[in-house]
């Protein structure tokens, strides 16, 4: 056994091919794991984007608060985050617990914008993945 080891350590032939094969294997494994992770990330993002479904249950033109309150429910298969709200194509500030909605959860989104009774408003709520929840609502 000792003899074998001594011979193995002394013999320097064919070291380069072994090293090159080893390096090639490491590089191949690294690239494949990178490609697999990229695949996972891409498909997860696509699935989440396709799985976004939000319904507007109620819109309240709140005269006491001077806001437009929208009650939303997440009926999709991915969590939703509101990134922008447009009233008649003009960006508005918003707050409320509906700005982040988990699956099957609901809440109010309060939009700070002035409104007039009897007028119709085009309210467009945009999520961070680009889904639009938009419709016309008439102030009472």
């Amino acid at each position: 056994m000792k003899k074998f080891f001594k011979r193995f350590l002394r013999d320097k032939r064919a070291i380069t091919p072994v090293l090159s094969h080893l390096l090639l294997t490491v590089v191949a494994v690294a690239i494949m794991s990178l490609a697999t992770s990229a695949t996972f990330v891409i498909t997860t993002n696509l699935r989440q984007t396709m799985g976004e479904r939000v319904v507007v249950e109620d819109v309240w033109f709140n005269s006491s608060a001077g806001t437009v309150d929208v009650f939303m429910r997440n009926v999709g298969k991915a969590d939703v985050q509101v990134s922008g709200v447009y009233v008649n194509h003009v960006g508005q500030s918003f707050n409320g617990n509906a700005s982040r909605l988990q699956v099957n959860k609901q809440g109010w989104l309060s939009i700070a914008c002035s409104w007039e009774a009897g007028k119709a408003y085009y309210i467009d709520i945009v999520t961070n993945r680009g889904t639009h929840i938009a419709d016309y609502y008439k102030a009472p």
Binding site: M32, A35, T36, T39, I42, T43, L46, R47, M50, G51, R53, V55, E57, D58, W60, S63, S64, D69, F71, R73, V75, K77, P140
Partner: protein, 138 residues
């Protein structure tokens, strides 16, 4: 046939290309399969939502407090009502509900804890899939 097999066994060139193509194909099949499957599932969800229809035929106040609603499932699939809304110009109140209706079935849903305004109001029922039925009482 034997000659071809022998040639293939001897010829070592282009093996890495074949392996790379095979691995790439596996990755592409994984991505496409995943997306197509998910798309099919979401299409099913959308289809079910469009097939679901319901009507709120009548809403009456009950004495001393509460509400009575006649709900009919006019669609071809069963539905689950998860919320009731009572709104007017000064208040928009949501109440959780839990009513299942089979296809074509009707029910009278009574709630004593719901406050109904004395003047005009709007009542809504919301299903789990996100569809609404509205009744206006003037």
């Amino acid at each position: 046939m034997q000659t071809i097999t022998r040639l293939l066994k001897r010829e070592k060139r282009g093996i890495s290309t074949v392996i790379v193509v095979m691995l790439s194909l596996v990755l592409i099949v994984m991505i496409v399969g995943n997306v197509v499957l998910w798309s099919y599932q979401m299409n099913q969800v959308d289809l079910e939502r469009t097939q679901e229809t319901l009507t709120l035929a009548n809403v009456t106040r009950t004495e001393p407090t509460g509400i009575s609603m006649d709900i009919k499932n006019t669609g071809a699939i069963s539905l689950h009502i998860v919320a009731v809304w009572v709104t007017n110009s000064t208040m928009h109140q949501r109440y959780d509900a839990d009513v299942f209706l089979n296809a074509g079935e009707s029910t009278t849903y009574n709630r004593t804890d719901i406050e109904v305004p004395q003047n005009a109001f709007l009542a809504k029922v919301v299903t789990e899939r996100g569809n609404l039925a509205v009744f206006s009482e003037s």
